[in-house]
Symmetry: C2
Subunit: 126 residues, 2 copies
């Protein structure tokens, strides 16, 4: 059994979600041991929400769950890489395919790239 | 100018390095503001080493620097994605292309995947 190192991050570690087909990096979130175990058991990505302080079954509200195709761990056992099938095509709660939709130029300026796949106001009924 | 959120991580945030051509995720490390500024200024990846407590110019010892092709930031401005050209072909200090070279099966067992590109004992003269 893999022993993951949750200590360095005070009980959590970063988990990268990557589209298993395109290789696009979709998001970075965190897992505690419970989220990791739930991910293994269900085959769907579970994270630990730092802001809400609770387990977060990704896609629970929006329906955009992440079906886990492969789990990788790095050499220090303190970071996880999930290769996922992103249901609905958008991982970002703002409606973009990827949360990494802001490009930084060499002067530190920011430009939004990528197009919205859904309108978050409709999905989350804000 | 982009305002990155270093607060949530007590002055650091996670930075993913991804091969700009293949899309392979190479490693996850951390940046503080200084490492971020050095990365912008030099075009080569700089991180904050949590274990050594110092700025880490990736490849300084091994020669395997990361030439930054693109910098992306996520929707919460608390995680960075670097698309890099990995000089020497290996990002991992153990000699593998990627630090994520351990696959976890659904029972939590671990298998090493990928082949070593260099012998770390020769590079680091341990």
């Amino acid at each position: 059994m893999v022993q993951l190192d949750f200590k360095k991050g005070d009980g959590i570690l970063p988990a990268i979600a990557q589209d298993y087909k395109s290789g696009k990096v979709l998001m970075l979130a965190y897992m505690n041991d419970e989220a990791y175990q739930l991910t293994l058991q269900t085959g769907e990505a579970h994270y630990w929400s730092r802001t809400r302080g609770e387990i977060w079954h990704k896609g629970e509200t929006s329906g955009n769950i992440q079906v886990v195709r492969e789990i990788l761990v790095d050499c220090d056992h303190d970071a996880i890489l999930l290769k996922v099938e992103q249901v609905g095509g958008a991982a970002c709660h703002l409606g973009y395919e990827s949360c990494f939709h802001n490009k930084i130029d060499k002067h530190g300026g920011e430009t939004t790239i990528g197009e919205r796949i859904f309108n978050p106001e409709r999905i989350y009924k804000k």
